[in-house]
Symmetry: C3
Subunit: 308 residues, 3 copies
């Protein structure tokens, strides 16, 4: 998320009442979770395992739970609970605004786009031209929809990221301030759900077609001209390249990549990155021809057991 | 789809600016995709692999991308892109009409039927008597609901068929003009989605009960008194006979038949037609007793490996 | 379900025009299906296999289809169709009331709770304080929502139990009169569906977080601080203890228990009760380390076959 008005480190530290080390006038222009940081961003880290990743990331400012020397050109803000303090910054700079009406007056709707009855369009949503949004669709605040997009009834665009931190006796939620960006010529099926990014964008690439009852998790980037059949589930932070086809009920775990042109057959379960231009099947997934061999061998098990 | 006013071949050919061969006054009374054609229909074919199927089908008129002699009593319309021209006919004869209100004034609602708040009823929808439509249900144009039907909240009846043609650098959509027909005494669960036929009907047979979050694809015909548990996914053009039971999360691929009285256990994946009156399990699915034997043998694998 | 005004056996028997045996003045204070009975309840049994269970249950009154002596302190009501008569009692004491508006005037909403547009709140629903109910959510009659609860768009809370009795040529529905109870600090994802209890409560324990497109069946009890990823499906009458984690697309069959702290990996299928504090995988599910061994052995099958 970009801040509407950039802040200095000094100002940020004052908000969360924390000490800091670095240039007090250094500018914080954005707020991002570690997966999506860029120069000018503030991010947070609270586990020694990820200190190095955070300190060497593009982020300019890091909220961290250990006193240490700050790296060149960066600043550190010291906190006993960086997660809590990052969440409080998100809530300050991206506060929840309740809706006054089904179509927010701050939304912009392009020429010749049709919003059917029962559609909810949140604050600062942008919808391009020639779109058709069917009845009872919900689009949360700040989402961006391109041109010639069709969204079927009951679809939910931009619900919160499912991202919680386990505490001793409860979970704390990482308040999300990202968006969903749907590019041109996309079609979204009925009752499909696409979560917003934690701080960045969940993206559905131009020309991609999603069937009904599909789940797309936060910060996932789907390429152009992909085709997903009904009930596919894609976790958060997945990178799916162009022209990928996922058949019905395929499940995709978080933080992995599916290469351009890959085809995955129905009900497969994907736990590791997949090369492009191959066909896959099974849970856990394998190359389809390999899986077919395995299934053929399974049929010979009775014979094997008899021979022994 | 039946045309409201039948047209002659000559008129149809003029609309898509194409040459034709056959009786210029021959009547086109309907428009149908090749799976659902009958006498009087116009259909299309664009792949040599399916020429014979199209030419020998019940359709009276075929839009085809090869010049050839027309069969007895039929007519051919020649097009360099039959898919494009068929879609343009669908759009001409079944244009999208945006809604003026949540309940279309052209819809008919039977006696003692209750529509809860937030329900959307599209143009020319017909709902029988003694139905209960729970809040926030969406029923697209032209769907037909029988008597004593219960539809739970969030269900979407009649969204577009998920049917796209791959072009070099994008997908083209086959505009759908079919309907969903729900017979008497059916119950549809919350957030279940049932897509309309491409040009014919998707049918849910009398007395069938569908649980929540189920997907039923375009042109699928489900028989009477079937029972589907939550999260079942059925692709397009499937034929499910009477008294079939599908347990939770079962997936069914397109263009196949499940015989009367078949029972399929949870999470099974069905890629081929199944005989009736048997119990099945697994992905890919097998007869349950066979699958159980296979699972038992799997348990003996460590022993087998040790023996070798 | 508790009756608003308790009735005597004599009165109940008169409603369904049945004979009875026992103290005519014995009080019936509640109506419950056999899974959830307590003292004062009336329940029903129609299969000899379950006579003993019903007669020895906590229920005070049993509608039964066989004349027999009544046990101490209980009463029997004789019916040729106990299911039909139980349903008629449910319909009498818990009749469906259609809604007058999107927010029922009989609902109570706590301080600082926000209901976004398009939300339906049924009769006698209770919502605690500091809740955020996103657009187009549906909450059926009588449900109870605690404090600090977030419910995302399209979620459906309290649809009918999916519970049907097979007759010769159709299914009869067990009318449900239970509730959904959502405790404090729960988050419910977009388009998730949670069915009401048949006669008791479906419960989501405090602090539990459910992702999108999840199904929770009737009378299921989920403990505190559980985490379910998207597209999980849980059948009816399941007991899930505290701190259970179910990853995406896991399926859980009815009438079983998952122990405290169990973790179940994606796409697993659970058909039997699971001990707590272990990790599971597979369909059918096994302990994950066992399943991993099995998968490793599968890879050796070609070698085994070659050796033979």
């Amino acid at each position: 998320m970009q801040l509407k008005t950039p802040k200095t480190i000094k100002e940020i530290a004052a908000i969360i009442r924390a000490e800091y080390d670095g240039d007090p006038e250094m500018i914080v222009s954005g707020l991002n979770e570690i997966h999506r940081v860029k120069k000018g961003d503030i991010t947070f880290v609270d586990h020694p395992k990820y200190y190095k990743k955070a300190l060497s990331s593009a982020a300019s400012t890091i909220i961290i739970n250990k006193k240490m020397a700050f790296p060149n050109g960066k600043a550190l803000i010291f906190s006993d609970d960086p997660f809590r303090d990052f969440v409080s910054l998100v809530k300050k700079f991206s506060p929840f605004q309740s809706a006054e009406s089904m179509i927010s007056p701050s939304a912009t709707i392009g020429k010749h786009s049709i919003l059917q009855p029962g559609v909810f369009i949140g604050n600062h949503v942008s919808i391009g031209k020639n779109c058709l949004i069917h009845p009872n669709v919900t689009i949360y605040d700040n989402c961006v929809i391109g041109d010639h997009v069709v969204i079927h009834s009951g679809a939910v665009i931009g619900a919160d990221a499912f991202y919680f931190k386990r505490r001793t006796d409860h979970y704390d939620k990482l308040a999300s301030c990202g968006r969903v960006v749907i590019e041109d010529n996309v079609e979204i099926g009925a009752n499909t759900t696409i979560d917003k990014g934690v701080s960045g964008d969940t993206v559905i690439g131009a020309g991609t077609k999603l069937d009904n009852l599909i789940q797309v998790g936060h910060d996932t980037i789907i390429g152009k001209n992909c085709l997903f059949a009904a009930q596919v589930g894609v976790a958060g932070c997945v990178n799916i390249e162009d022209d990928v086809i996922l058949w019905g009920q395929v499940g995709v775990q978080k933080d992995l990549t599916i290469g351009k042109g890959a085809v995955v057959l129905g009900q497969s379960g994907i736990a590791k990155s997949l090369d492009g231009n191959k066909t896959y099947f099974g849970s856990p997934v394998k190359e389809a021809k390999e899986k077919m061999k395995e299934l053929a061998m399974m049929k010979r098990l009775p014979e094997i057991i008899e021979r022994l």
